[in-house]
């Protein structure tokens, strides 16, 4: 069989061909929606038309078998239409209400997790990790799996004061909105890279490698036609390794997972926020990372118990104060928590008012 004629610069297929007829008819005319359960909602149009959405989790890393399985289900109940969400969930879209119960039954029978809508833990935005990335300091898919095994009920049923967005980034590159999530994990290194003087001259461009360092810790080593690292200045961010493969930074015993909390992206109430450091390092302990799971569970449970309705994690912490957050959660406060990077000054307390 011959290869078909290639085309270039055509862009993606036009979205309109993938929209169910009820959406095409009511595009831009939706009036309101209601959450019917943890994984089902209905949108109602000005015309009175309805569209039902049934949301299920996916592990993001999926086989073609999985895609065919959800396609078969969508054919059976949804005239072949489905969509994915920005957090890797699958949404089955249907306008025939009578198919809603049979669809959910089949999904449950096949072991799908239905949920993620409303004030709950939704699926995690995450990165490639050890599955497919050269700079990963931890695995991402594994962390997502062990966290969601623990928080499964918060996806499928149990409610929280507000929605809680978890995320995992396998290194400080943070491919994903980890820096603005309610609770997020980020893979971190803790030792400077070790220059490989044999490979650097061939594999690395010296000026751009020096320029990649945010703290000015890299300088030329002309005698070796290589680079030197000032260990005292290095903050182990790994940006140099992205530019120069001959500066390996991975270290199995010292790499690990940091936890940051209190970020959000929506402008609701008080604007988007960055996530802030609460656990500087926990060990990489695959396959189930028990220390990390326990730490996240501790934070989530204290939030669930103490936050007011509609308060996101960051809003709750700001109301009670960070000093009280550390007291309630029992997380030890260390030098690593006090910022000494670019925006440090904005984060120091400049008031005599705080809690004991």
């Amino acid at each position: 069989m011959s290869t078909p004629q290639r085309k270039t610069d055509i862009g993606p297929p036009h979205y309109k061909q993938f929209l169910p007829p009820v959406i095409q008819k009511n595009y831009g005319q939706w009036k309101y929606h209601e959450e019917l359960s943890a994984g089902v909602m209905v949108h109602v149009s000005e015309s009175g038309d309805e569209i039902y959405t049934v949301r299920v989790a996916s592990p993001r890393l999926i086989s073609t078998d999985f895609i065919r399985e959800i396609s078969d289900i969508a054919d059976k109940y949804c005239d072949g239409y489905l969509r994915f969400t920005s957090r890797h969930n699958v949404e089955f879209l249907l306008s025939d209400k009578s198919k809603l119960e049979p669809l959910q039954k089949e999904l449950k029978d096949k072991g799908f997790a239905i949920g993620g809508i409303g004030n709950r833990v939704s699926n995690l935005v995450h990165t490639q990790g050890w599955v497919h990335c050269h700079s990963a300091a931890t695995d991402a898919s594994g962390l997502v799996k062990v966290l969601m095994d623990e928080f499964y009920d918060y996806f499928t049923s149990k409610e929280l004061p507000s929605r809680v967005r978890l995320a995992v980034a396998c290194c400080t590159n943070m491919c994903g909105a980890v820096h603005c999530s309610d609770i997020a994990l980020v893979g971190v290194h803790r030792k400077p890279p070790i220059p490989d003087h044999e490979r650097i001259p061939n594999q690395c461009e010296i000026p751009s490698t020096i320029g990649s360092c945010p703290t000015g810790a890299i300088s030329p080593d002309p005698a070796k036609k290589s680079l030197k690292i000032n260990d005292e200045k290095c903050m182990y961010c790994g940006n140099c390794y992205s530019v120069c493969p001959a500066l390996p930074i991975a270290d199995p015993d010292n790499d690990g997972v940091a936890i940051v909390v209190g970020g959000k992206v929506g402008s609701l109430r008080n604007g988007p926020k960055f996530s802030k450091l609460v656990y500087p390092w926990l060990p990489n302990n695959p396959p189930r990372w028990p220390e990390v799971v326990n730490a996240v569970k501790g934070i989530l449970e204290v939030y669930a118990k103490n936050a007011r309705k509609h308060e996101r994690v960051g809003e709750w912490v700001e109301r009670i104060g960070w000093e009280k957050f550390f007291k309630l959660t029992g997380i030890p406060f260390t030098f690593q928590h006090i910022d000494d990077f670019t925006f440090a000054r904005e984060t120091w307390r400049t008031s005599a008012a705080f809690k004991w």
Partner: protein, 393 residues
């Protein structure tokens, strides 16, 4: 097919209620030698507690400088199936809507020429076809593009734009996020496929300030829907929320950041002049409250994750822009922004970092945008600022 790789550590991740990526990998491994070796290589990472992937080399398809991420194993003798294991980024349709016949077509191509493993979707929004050999790339591209699919962005280029579900299935959307995304993607095909920028540039389009695609945190250019008129109130629906148990004073009135709402038990009133359009009340009482009047978008520029000198959120550059096809204003503004970035940006410097280094004034003057109080949280605190000779006697 050789024997299935033994994966005692990963097997543990098939237990528990959440859907397992390991199970997915095993399904692919049953049909693909590449995926079988991926399973083995990942088990090795779990054993060694470190990654076994090397930096990407330059691989791709003819005429494109991106869309394929080269990936090589550092232990190819042990796992020859993933000696090279490149990613193909396929530009997703706006808002990730699909028909199953298209999905099956892609599965067929990917089973034949790739690992059978995918990500739906990658962080930027592309459909990710995870892992194939260099010699299959041209065939995969021909198979995909002849059926109407194209590659997404990678490297120092425009990255694949993405958007929220927007007017397709959301009552809050003030702009046609799907159409804007499609139109921008088509307009800037060259900038996406042939990297020529100092670094990456991302567009994300959200229909309202809830920002379901995290545009404000992750896009160099965030297009976020907003409105200028008064919020429309359905008082009967307000009463229904109260009757159904909502404490309107606690949940709506007291949580309004500008304190522009009052409620006397019978009637909800909004001082629209004082409303900052944060979306809190509308999202909580979606049957009773809706945006009114003129619709458009706020354009914010400059966000990125912590590399290099710390994360930034995007900042307001154009407080309100009408968003109607063919979206000439945002396209022209984007070309001006790129011109300035191209002129002054250093290698691997995002637009937000350049604005910080060169200053907002320099940037705004170049792109031809006048200063506006919506651009700032507060005016400067210091007494150090420039005057031009034109402004002096």
């Amino acid at each position: 097919m050789s024997e299935m790789r033994k994966t005692p550590l990963l097997d543990d991740l098939e237990k528990g209620p959440w859907p397992s990526f390991v199970t997915e990998m095993k399904k692919a491994a049953a049909k693909s030698e590449m995926s079988n070796d991926l399973l083995g290589a990942l088990e090795q990472c779990y054993k060694d507690k470190k990654t076994h992937w090397k930096h990407g080399g330059i691989v791709g398809v003819r005429g494109y400088g991106g869309g394929v991420i080269g990936r090589y194993s550092d232990i190819p003798e042990q796992f020859p199936g993933v000696a090279h294991f490149h990613t193909v980024r396929v530009n997703q349709p706006s808002a990730w809507f699909y028909k199953t016949d298209s999905l099956r077509e892609i599965c067929g191509i990917w089973d034949k020429y790739g690992s059978g493993l995918t990500n739906f979707h990658g962080s930027t929004g592309d459909m990710i076809l995870l892992g194939t050999k260099t010699e299959n790339l041209e065939t995969i591209f021909a198979e995909l593009s002849s059926r109407g699919w194209d590659l997404g962005g990678s490297g120092s280029a425009l990255r694949t734009p993405s958007c929220c579900v927007g007017p397709a299935r959301c009552e809050w959307s003030n702009i046609d996020t799907l159409d804007i995304t499609y139109s921008l993607t088509e307009e800037f095909q060259d900038e996406m496929h042939r990297p020529a920028f100092p670094y990456k540039y991302k567009f994300k389009v959200s229909g309202c300030a809830v920002d379901c695609v995290a545009a404000i945190a992750r896009a160099d250019c965030a297009i976020i829907g907003t409105w200028k008129g008064d919020i429309k109130i359905d008082q009967a629906e307000v009463q229904r929320y109260a009757k159904n148990g909502m404490d309107i004073n606690a949940e709506i009135v007291n949580m309004c950041p500008t304190k522009c709402i009052t409620y006397n038990g019978k009637e909800l009133k909004i001082e629209n002049e004082d409303c900052s359009r944060c979306m809190h009340c509308i999202t909580k009482m979606t049957k009773a409250l809706r945006p009114g009047g003129e619709r458009g978008a706020t354009i914010l520029i400059g966000s990125h994750a912590p590399f290099v000198k710390g994360a930034q959120l995007s900042q307001v550059i154009v407080p309100f822009m009408k968003m109607e096809p063919p979206y000439t204003e945002i396209k022209e503004l984007t070309r001006k922004i790129w011109e300035w970035w191209d002129e002054y940006g250093k290698n691997r410097e995002r637009i937000g970092e350049l604005i910080e280094r060169k200053g907002m004034r320099d940037f705004l003057e170049y792109i031809g945008v006048d200063p506006h109080p919506a651009m700032i949280k507060e005016p400067r605190r210091d007494p150090f600022y420039f005057w031009t000779t034109d402004e002096l006697k």
